[in-house]
Amino acid sequence: MEHLILRDLDIQNIKNIAVYEEHGGYQAFRKAVKEMTPDQVTDAVKQSGLRGRGGAGFPAGVKWSFLPKGVFPRYLVVNADESEPGTFKDRQMMERNPHQLIEGIAIASYAIQCNQAFIYIRGEFPYAAECLEQAIADAESRGYVGKNIFGTDYHLQIVVHRGAGAYICGEETALLESIEGKLGQPRVKPPFPAAVGLYNKPTVINNVETLINVPLIIERGAQWYASLGTPKSTGPKVFCLSGHVNRPGNYEGEFGKMTFRELIYDLGGGIRNGKKLKGILPAGASGPMVSPLVNEAVLDVKLDFESLAPFGSLLGSASVIVLDEDTCVVWAAKKMLHFFKNESCGKCTPCREGTYWLWRLLERIDAGEGTMADIDLLTSVATQMQGRTLCPLGEFATSPVLGTVKLFREEYERHVKERGCWAKK
């Protein structure tokens, strides 16, 4: 199959601008600027059905059309914070196919009529940041970025802004605060960034993978794009596969075509050391676990934004972490809560205190010092956090607990009864 996103797997050196151009690079941007009005570009993206790849799946074209008319300047912010445990797709795109992203940013900027775009990249990706800066410089030398693009009066500057180690800055309003030179803490919504965003100006925030799809839509047409995937989740999708598989990595498929069975067993080469599969975290630490041991049908679900709902989970950014039969779910939940406890920004009490207490309880149970009442306390603390936090992080943090207790309650009870963990870690 031809890759549409991970084109570095088909075309050697596509990160080189000359090679990218040989393969049609920047022609979509040329077409947009020379032959289309900004609104026509936005309409094409709407018709393509492109949905945000940062986790929530909001339709990109619809988001672009929310900007209030006649208010300038406005900004495009690219979310390259990629810090969800198990996610490493944007990194591959930025390091190995950066021009397709830059072209997507340029087209989106033209569509929303912004002249300055910011890429917020996590500080732990220094090489990817350099790749982007190089790609921007090369694009500028060819006249795709800068002043009077394609001889028109359209200008565009793209700035790479490095984060410094804070998962919460992936949340879009915390990210805006961070670009503004402040603590990365989420803002109260409304107002939404479309109206009051970066420097209080209208702002669109999109994920890297969302924008890298845009040149395809302009080049090959919205109809062609909408024919990929399912009617509700269109286009290609990159799945990150990690954990106990033989061949971890990024795998590109189409929405609604890929199943866990195909991803884990065919592409990923199956479970390491011939073990059985116990649990799958479809959305990294931020979505509930599913288990073929509990319901084997989950292996054959055709993956899109909605299809995991009957199994009590969601696809999120498709950071699929695989756990084998020897893995203790209490220990795994404890690991994830350790992450959330450290990454809670501390702005609201239910999240700051709740993540701490969930982690402490899990530590206690894992160490064999827990009681049966602790298991109920776990679910009660998690349930009380839901709906009471300012941003979704506090909500995400409850899913490792609620997901594993629901699937494997007897394993929690066994830790209490046997005073510790039977599994070898």
Partner: protein, 157 residues
């Protein structure tokens, strides 16, 4: 103290953004690269350059994990212990690294050469376990042998 060159670069950064305050994070990165960490006087210098109170700059420098407000060793190792790395043996490997270095995560070796810190997911889970050296060099698919080579190299660098 920051070099003249660093100050010029910070001025350029301030001009790059619609609001000069946005230069705070890049300025802290730049200063840390030059000085090795962010002592009080450097925080003050950045505050003066950007035109903000020292407490504000300090707040930012303390909030983000990659900024060092305490003097680290010559080299800093960030070692990922999140789930994807842990599933591939990171915890045991970290113990071995602590043993080899003779210091616990969160501390610096007695000779002042290496600071070891636990980190959250470093975005390299397809090559777990992973670590990051001095904020710019990813090491992946870590094994005990690779750790030994790395320690040897850093101790002599």
């Amino acid at each position: 103290m920051l070099s003249e060159n660093a100050k010029t670069q910070i001025a350029k950064l301030m001009a790059q953004y619609p609001d000069p305050r946005s230069a705070v994070m890049p300025a802290l990165h730049l200063a840390q690269r030059e000085v090795g960490w962010l002592p009080d006087d450097v925080i003050q210098e950045i505050a003066d350059l950007v035109g903000l109170a020292k407490t504000e700059i300090n707040g930012v420098a303390t909030f983000y994990a990659m900024y060092a407000r305490e003097q680290p060793g010559t080299h800093t190792i960030l070692f990922c212990t999140d789930l994807p790395c842990a599933l591939r043996g990171a915890d045991k490997l970290l113990e071995q690294l602590e043993h080899r270095l003779g210091c616990q995560a969160g501390h610096t070796t007695a000779d002042g050469k290496i600071t070891l810190k636990e980190a959250e997911c470093l975005g390299g889970c397809d090559h777990a376990p992973v670590l990051l050296i001095d904020g710019n060099e990813h090491q992946q698919d870590m094994t005990l042998e690779k750790l030994d080579e790395m320690i040897e190299r850093l101790k002599n660098a």
